[in-house]
């Protein structure tokens, strides 16, 4: 791949000055245009050590309006990051609409470094690669412009610069992986030539930049960035006039799931009290056990207004130590939330390993209220099904619990509860004109819910539809399902631990343990060398 690159290209100081002036103005204007169109730009800068990644960052931040560009690095993962799904750290930092985000290293450099250090296998690398592509597709679909750069130096130049750095003691490595990588040039180049072609997409292109000459490098990066943004803007404009082709139609013939719910199920008060008391004790112990094993729980509550979500959540929380549980009520987004990808506001609250997070309404708003009320466009909510499935797969991550509850009541019961709320002092606030308006759209909500069940009922995150005409029945159902899920997951994890006692570690500690592995490996290697 690198053989075909035009190496050794240089610019004279005068040539560069002319280019610079022109590129600077162009980029600045494009930044303005992105702001107008609410498009975010995500720039991934990776490269060989000494290739000038930092200088490119400085160039971009000095050319553009610094208030609308932020740089982020992803080398050492903090504990808060290690104890959450792998991509949580990236979601925290994605730029807001109309802004530029520069990711130094981005989501490619860490996995490259760890592959070179033999901490992760090629198979694992390919898995992460696929996840990266999926994330890029998701972002691009939601108005993000993505450009990925690899700054390249040939071996000779790389070694020359490395020696200079070591001599001048400016050879800074923030992780042991980087240090290792520097001395494995051939392995790195081989890896890049594997990764780049496989992750080069029209919505997130790679640019390999010859970085031997500073001026040539700067001009090349700026040109490629300009080209990427211009393409995206042109596409955006074209879309407006030439509407996207309609996506596949809804299965109108499929069974409407909600109409099959048996709403007659109920529970007597004394049975409820007894069961609840026992479940409370069981859940308290199980959630603590899950905490010690690092199993996080994400519990999602959806359902028609007044279906009893709040009451169920309260009983559930009284069964978990308040110190490891949180409720996230979802209502209108804040302006910071509105300025980001619609999943960002949910990523914000993803639980740490071992903790319990309850979402009172959730990301399903995208395909329910936003669909029904027209806040999301048709192609937006249709695309959301697979975006949500992918998000949930990351949440579960083979070791966490994700339960989705739909509390269901009949239209008559809803009316009765609305009236009751209006007549009870501390329930009045729960009922607003909005609720009455939504009630008129019940059929549309049911249609949306039925399609949602069909499209997001995955094997790793199934829906639980709870007949809630009887509050007692519904509450016990929720607690029993959670109890079963905890028992199963705990048994599974404990079995795994037993099975691979020494080899397998819990995934959530993988990054910190990588470092330890690396150290062990080295010290073993050193010992071997000494024996020789």
């Amino acid at each position: 791949m690198f053989e075909t690159m035009r190496l050794g290209q240089k610019y004279s100081s005068k040539e560069y000055k002319e280019f610079e002036n022109d590129l600077r103005i162009k980029l600045f204007r494009l930044q303005e245009e992105c702001r107008e169109h609410g498009l975010a730009v995500l720039i991934n800068i990776a490269g060989v050590t000494g290739s000038g990644r930092g200088e490119i960052v400085n160039m971009l931040t000095s050319w553009l309006d610094p208030k609308k560009i932020q740089t982020h690095t992803f080398w050492h993962a903090s504990e808060d990051e290690r104890l959450r799904p792998l991509s949580w750290r990236y979601w925290q930092k994605i730029p807001a609409k109309g802004e530029f985000g520069v990711f130094v290293g981005g989501w490619y450099a860490p996995m490259m470094n760890r592959t070179i250090s033999d901490v992760i296998s090629l198979d694992k690398l390919y898995l992460i690669m696929n996840k990266n592509i999926e994330r890029e597709q998701n972002l691009a679909d939601n108005g993000y412009i993505i450009a990925k750069f690899w700054l390249h130096l040939d071996k000779e130049e790389h070694e020359k610069r490395l020696e200079k750095r070591i001599k001048e003691k400016t050879n800074i490595h923030f992780t042991p992986f980087e240090k290792e990588r520097d001395h494995q040039y051939d392995k790195l180049v081989d890896l890049v030539s594997k990764i780049v072609p496989r992750t080069d997409r029209d919505f997130a292109p790679w640019f390999i930049i010859d970085a031997c000459d500073d001026e040539f490098r700067n001009v090349s990066v700026a040109n490629a960035l300009i080209q990427t943004i211009e393409n995206a803007l042109a596409k955006k404009k074209a879309e407006k006039t030439n509407k996207k082709a309609e996506m596949q139609a809804i299965h109108q013939g499929s069974i409407p799931i909600l109409s099959t719910v048996d709403l007659s199920l109920s529970l007597e008060k004394d049975v409820y009290k007894e069961k609840f008391s026992q479940l409370k004790t069981d859940l308290y112990q199980l959630t603590y056990k899950a905490y010690t094993l690092g199993i996080s729980s994400t519990l999602v509550f959806e359902g028609m207004d007044a279906a009893g979500k709040g009451g169920s959540i309260r009983r559930l929380l009284s069964s978990v130590d308040a110190r490891i549980a949180r409720v996230i009520p979802i209502s209108s987004p804040t302006d910071e939330e509105l300025a980001h990808h619609y999943l960002w506001r949910f990523w914000r609250h993803v639980p740490l390993a071992g903790r319990v997070t309850v979402y009172d309404r959730s990301w399903y708003g995208r395909v329910l209220v936003e669909r029904v009320e027209g806040f999301a466009k048709k192609d937006e909510w249709r695309r959301a099904y697979s975006e949500i499935n992918s998000f949930e797969e990351e949440l579960v991550d083979e070791k966490n619990i994700l339960l989705k509850f739909w509390l269901h009541i009949s239209s008559e019961e809803q009316l009765r509860r609305f009236k009751e709320r209006e007549n009870t002092e501390w329930k009045k606030y729960k009922i607003t004109p909005d609720d009455w308006r939504n009630r008129e759209k019940t059929d549309l909500y049911k249609l949306a819910a039925n399609e949602m069940f069909m499209r997001t009922n995955t094997n790793y995150a199934a829906w639980h539809i709870i007949p809630s005409e009887s509050k007692y029945y519904a509450r016990i159902q929720v607690l029993e399902i959670y109890k079963k899920a905890l028992e199963d997951k705990i048994a599974e994890i404990e079995k795994n631990i037993k099975k691979n006692n020494d080899e397998t570690k819990l995934d959530n500690t993988v990054i910190i343990e990588d470092v330890i592995d690396l150290k062990n490996k080295k010290s073993q290697k050193n010992k071997k060398d000494k024996k020789k």
Copy 2:
């Protein structure tokens, strides 16, 4: 202190039902009122193990509108928290205006536990206590209502409940400190009787609650909370009609610092180039050294429009590895920021140990633009001087660097630069009608700046006023001051490390090391016991 408590008080089930109904409605109405007045309520729940802290949390969250109440716990400090000033974790979680925040343990429990485990001395405890009071005063002044609860059990009851928990295996400890505390009842009670009277203030009162009877406990907490909120609301209303007494007048006679700045200082281009190149190399190495020692740098840039803040910041950043540095441009707050204490938006970005954060404009907006434009009321910006001093003391925390630069230019130079900006393509965006409006208020800004220098020029965070008529001169000055600050701080920290090699650890690791200390102490104790 506990002798005077009315212990053993109980309510019958019927009595409780009546109380509950009444209290629930009252609290709910108060929540509504707080929302209307934009008042935040901060509830600190601490107590003996088994006293029902979790149940109080559940009671409050179930009585109130759950969308406007959030619970937070502060037991295990994450790495992100340990690597920042002690109170960063609290500032992240303070409730927004109109909302309730329940802090389980709050900022008292962790320090109690660590005192009991002999990890911190009584002297240190008193220091932290003073900081707590200062923070509470600050919050109360800015519209926060604070209530602190200590749930108490007598020794007999405590032990009974502890035994039951151990037997039922529900005795959950999230940190080793909690476990230790449970078995040191007398020491704990002694400590509480030291802390409570010393930190009881009318703006943040303590309530000692007898928790032996669940119903009595619940009613007492609710009553005390209602009383606190009602008092605060009454005070708020009184303030509106009966304006607060004027604070002390400004020293009109004091020397206006800005008029003494020598604006003739300048630097030739070739001298500048040479110096800059050397400073760049030096700073790169020094900031890396500071990184390895955990010394964070907070650099604040203020000054009249067009004084050259952006240019200086750019040169500074090109001297630091992009992976450890960030710029935070401060403009209008987001709605999440507006909804919090005015310092919250700055606390958000406080650097981790070892990192460099540059604020392009800062919290000084409170006493500059907000004062001049009337966004902050007179008593608000006057109070801000001491709030800012206190905030900065925490940032520095005896081991970090905080530098405050004021870049100063003459009115004529400003005019020249404004015009230049209007005529340069990529500088146009820097000049807005606002800038011209601000220019008309130059004298008011200078007055505000002069008072700011006088009141916030502390020994731990001095102001550096940089004559900036010559951009070259100003840039070099900034870099030289930073270089000197880094050299001094590094020398100081290295000297300390050398001096107390074994005893003293860097403060930023204190919490994690506490745990290690505790383990060591225990294992030593065990060894001793075995020897016996």
